[in-house]
């Protein structure tokens, strides 16, 4: 809810109309990639680089579907709807249950609740952001990276991930003065060369 609200406020402050911010949250429903795309486009980056970075970020949803796809039933309608509700939290809740029936209930309940709160929060944040007006006031440019940092911090507790991500961030910062906005973010994937032979135990 709060994350959705800060996304709404930050997206509006970068000049996106309220309706488009809300449409994005309903249609994409993947917070990290929404922050990513808005951040790159607001920074003057190319739309192509922005969408590419957002989709690489969302590639982790593919294994989600492989893991819990059987919970979505065989009907096309439930598969389509269920696929759209696949986010980190709903998948984690489903995987935490042992019985299929409870896993199914956990997935749909959590997914639906998150969808509603994320979009309600986004609308509220967008309206507040619109009322604030000038994005330079109140340090909103600092709120954006701080919100992202809070989201990414739990994953950084794993040492190899931390090393990879720090190297990627260093590459991005070092190349930012010389390359068009957005491209340095994609170059951060170069940090993956430090992943080494990843032991199975560190999988998220």
């Amino acid at each position: 809810m709060v994350t959705g609200a800060s996304f709404g406020a930050i997206a509006v402050s970068s000049g996106t109309p309220v309706w488009l911010v809300c449409a994005m949250s309903v249609l994409v429903f993947a917070g990290g990639s929404q922050f990513m795309v808005v951040g790159i486009v607001a920074g003057g980056g190319s739309p192509l680089a922005a969408v590419l970075a957002g989709l690489v970020l969302n590639a982790r949803h593919l294994p989600f579907g492989l893991a819990i796809g059987d919970l979505l039933g065989t009907r096309l309608a439930t598969r389509v709807l269920g696929s759209h509700l696949m986010v980190d939290e709903s998948v984690a809740f489903a995987l935490a249950q042992r019985e299929p029936a409870r896993a199914r209930a956990a997935f749909w309940t959590c997914g639906a609740a998150l969808f509603l709160t994320w979009n309600a929060g986004c609308l509220a944040g967008a309206l507040v952001g619109q009322a604030i007006g000038d994005p330079g006031r109140f340090g909103i440019d600092a709120a954006f990276p701080a919100a992202m940092l809070a989201l990414v911090l739990p994953a950084l507790r794993e040492p190899t991930t931390l090393r990879v991500a720090m190297a990627g961030a260093a590459i991005a910062v070092a190349t930012s003065p010389f390359l068009p906005p957005g491209v340095p973010i994609l170059l951060a994937l170069g940090g993956l060369v430090l992943a080494g032979r990843v032991p199975a135990a560190v999988a998220r």
Binding site: G43, F144, P145, A146, A147, V152, T161, V173
Partner: protein, 102 residues
């Protein structure tokens, strides 16, 4: 932000999500590939944080911005609530600017 960008991201994301249930009989991802996908996501997000905190428009973004994001990061690390983290970062940056720190 344009409608085209939103639609491209929405369609691409749905395609990735829908591929899972469709391909689960035929596709097997190794543990290593899954781990690398998670790491790639984290690397992209941290890079976005670092660029927006330090070099937002291709040049140094100023001490007020860097200080605000640093304080927000420490707050998140100390497991303060999300909203506190965001408000602290914005508040510290706004405060430094009021004091004349660029």
């Amino acid at each position: 932000m344009t409608v085209e960008v939103v639609l491209a991201l929405a369609l691409g994301t749905f395609g990735i999500r829908f591929a899972g249930p469709l391909l689960r009989e035929r596709l097997h991802l190794s543990e290593r590939v899954r781990t690398l996908m998670g790491m790639a996501a984290t690397a992209l997000l941290l890079a976005l944080v670092a660029v927006n905190a330090l070099v937002p428009h291709g040049g140094f973004g100023g001490w007020a911005l860097a200080a605000g994001v640093t304080v927000g990061g420490v707050a998140a690390w100390r497991k303060l609530p999300f909203v506190v983290t965001v408000l602290l970062a914005a508040g510290v940056t706004a405060g430094f600017r009021l004091l004349g720190v660029a």
